[in-house]
Symmetry: C2
Subunit: 453 residues, 2 copies
């Protein structure tokens, strides 16, 4: 099976089945599809069409499709169920982590009702435990389903135990070994389970060097550990080292991606984690603070230029190059800081390397500054009549680029030292700061040079 893509012909088939209200043929069409593909199809249909299709789905498919739908759209389909139906038809078909996600998105009073309708008490307890963890913690990412065996078991007992426990699982990636206090002591790789003779001693074949994360660690920590050690599944333990659950890589992929995207959003001047589908007001609220910083910076800039009003009256050509100087300072600053921010995010900068970094950035700044300043000098000498303005803009451009390189390197490093997210630096802060210093440098050099010539 190749990847499925929703195309026009497929949508037309679906729509004609919807129009004819043929539930059974819809059930057949979707019977073969992965829940992720069903969710994608629902997005392409109108609200009423999507609800009709959803109501035709087989129970397990419907439950899993819900986990692939955006949290904003999910309520449309959830409201088709009573609390008892949510417990019996949705929750019962899901792993504990997905079940907890679905329940935590419900209104407070409904959460308790749904939990109380779950007939399997063990399952209800697992979900209630998971609901207790902070959404941003490793515990908030984990699932309770796992296979564990006791250290004192023989291999034959293990296999029997694993068979019993595996029935509850979607798939099996690792078998955890605990002692009699439920403390995680090792891992039994599936490969060894298959290869070991049935008479083997469990203690002899387990891997005791097992990496774990505590449930209260952040989800970013859990993601970093899995990424660093190339893990597919990571056991979660409590402060005592007792096995609480496990995180699988597919949940962490989302965390890793969100983290990389957050840096990009911060750098673009968007302060909350928003998506294009969010409401106009949410989008505006995430963006206005940065615009206001820019506004205040712009007003401050107008005061700096205003202080040179007399120069401007005599030499209005000074004004021509204001946007150039401001923009170049901003561009260089953003470039310098973006590289530092990414290196910090990937932990590839060691704290003792600051001076080395700065020196290298100065090198890049010098090359850029020389190339740009000489090109601008050439242009100005050729097209403008005045030597003063030509020299002023090119010397100012050179100085601004060097200065912006240094600031773009130092500010994110300093922010990181005092535990502020350095991605903030690449946003409007650096652009605005460099605009201001750019204006100051430009007019100071202008005043100096116009005095000389």
């Amino acid at each position: 099976m190749a990847e499925f893509n929703v195309n026009k012909a497929f949508l037309e088939d679906i729509r004609s089945a919807i129009d004819a209200r043929q539930s059974s043929s819809i059930k057949d069409i979707f019977g073969e599809l992965h829940p992720s593909d069903i969710a994608e199809t629902l997005y392409r249909l109108s609200k009423d069409e999507a609800i009709f299709v959803f109501s035709c789905l087989d129970e397990e498919q419907a439950a899993e499709t819900l986990t692939f739908l955006d949290e904003e759209i999910r309520p449309r389909f959830m409201q088709l169920f009573t609390p008892t139906e949510i417990a019996e038809r949705v929750i019962d078909n899901l792993d504990s982590d997905d079940a907890a996600d679905i329940i935590s998105a419900l209104p407070e009073e409904q959460q308790k009702e749904v939990l109380s309708k779950i007939t399997d008490f063990e399952q209800a307890k697992d979900i209630a435990d998971l609901l207790g963890y902070d959404e941003d913690s490793a515990g908030g990412l984990m699932a309770k389903e796992l296979v564990k065996v006791h250290l004192e078991n023989t291999l034959i007992q293990c296999v029997r135990e694993i068979r019993k426990q595996a029935e509850e699982l979607d798939d099996l990636y690792a078998i955890y070994v605990v002692d009699d206090r439920d403390i995680l002591v090792g891992l039994l790789p599936l490969k060894r389970l298959l290869l070991a003779p049935t008479t083997a001693n469990l203690q002899g074949i387990i891997d005791t060097n097992v990496v774990s994360v505590t449930a209260t660690a952040t989800r970013e920590d859990a993601a970093a550990i899995m990424e660093k050690y190339d893990l597919v599944v990571l056991p979660v333990v409590d402060e005592l080292g007792r096995l609480m659950g496990r995180i699988t890589i597919d949940d962490v992929v989302d965390v890793i991606k969100e983290e990389a995207e957050r840096d990009y959003q911060l750098a673009s001047g968007i302060s909350e984690d928003v998506e294009a589908d969010d409401k106009v007001w949410v989008l505006s609220r995430a963006r206005l603070p940065w615009l206001l910083i820019g506004l205040v910076g712009g007003i401050a800039g107008s005061r700096i230029i205003g202080a040179h009003e007399s120069t401007l009256q005599i030499h209005p050509e000074m004004a021509f190059f204001i946007p150039l100087i401001a923009a170049m300072g901003g561009n260089v600053g953003v470039q310098s800081s973006a590289i530092i921010v990414q290196s910090l995010a990937n932990k590839s900068i060691q704290s003792n390397g600051i001076w080395q970094r700065l020196l290298k950035e100065l090198g890049v700044g010098l090359i850029s500054a020389l190339v740009c300043a000489l090109l601008l000098l050439g242009y100005a000498l050729f097209f403008a009549d005045s030597l003063s303005i030509s020299l002023t803009v090119s010397i100012a451009l050179f100085t601004v680029i060097i200065f912006a390189s240094i600031m773009g390197t130092l500010i994110p490093l300093l922010l990181d030292k005092i535990n502020i997210d350095p991605a903030l630096a690449t946003g409007p802060f650096i652009t605005t700061g460099n605009d201001l210093t750019g204006m100051f440098i430009y007019f100071s050099i202008g005043r100096l040079l116009y005095g000389l010539f």
Copy 2:
């Protein structure tokens, strides 16, 4: 075992062992560590220290550590080995995908020599096959090691076959089922293998609905499929559907991350995939093109302002707000386009939603424009004496923000339509374009209003 972190005390221990040339105690210290942690430690040591530590490592550990080192640093350690040693001590200890990566980084003539020294011909063939794939294709990501069984086998034959094949593997995630032409027909989940009675028929328990990717697809396609279907391992097939290898999620995590980071770099005006550790010249080359775009834009801006020289001579206060208008247009444009770029990357915008997106962005633009323009009007009326300049700057700001919102939305959508990476739009292109239109709008409104009052 918690996550390991290189700290000062640990480095001191290592350094004193290095100074005393105690190879055996170094071997002991590193014996417990994950290759990823060893690589991290090597980065913190001087070149000579690192080489000494590396030479003390146990053979398998040394080989795996090499796979965690940056490609720029790896040659330092590779040159400790002769081609025969690379074949026998490095390649023989690695999976085919890592082995192919190590070999492909060697100089051309050395590659053949190393390949010819590999004693296991099957292994040499696998690696030679992998070297044939483009680095950016799904084939370039895959490993040859996998467990496959034939459809006609009985379950007992399967188990015997799996035991034999699993010895070659680091760990086992899936068992693939092929027909007599080696065409992938299904997947045997480990869970079912454990739960099925030994008398079961293989055809009855396999999952025939198996997602695969062709070896010539791009690595981004492979990553997208694994992400969409939450897969841990993805089988790779050739054009005929024959099973060629498999990709594991840890290799794909890097692809997903690189992709997210590339958008950020493009948006920050860095054209190649560079890292902070790259040479000064490489960093400059990646950044200069964007600066030159900014420079040309700035010069064009100077012409626009120059056309209003007479206005500036009479009203020098017009110049005060040039950086404000330019910066705000740039900021809003970058914000608008960043949200669109991310939505496009996550495929959450449907092609028929362009008008809806534009309408929403206009809403956000209107709110931002109103808030910022009114604040600026208040400031200007209070601090500047002239009604004309106050009205000019606030009306110009309002217009520029609306315009930048529209451009910031449309340009990435249009670039995407014509198959150009829309992340380009959030970079200096949008900032420069908005600077120019901002100046044009500002001075046009200024001329109009000064004429009226």
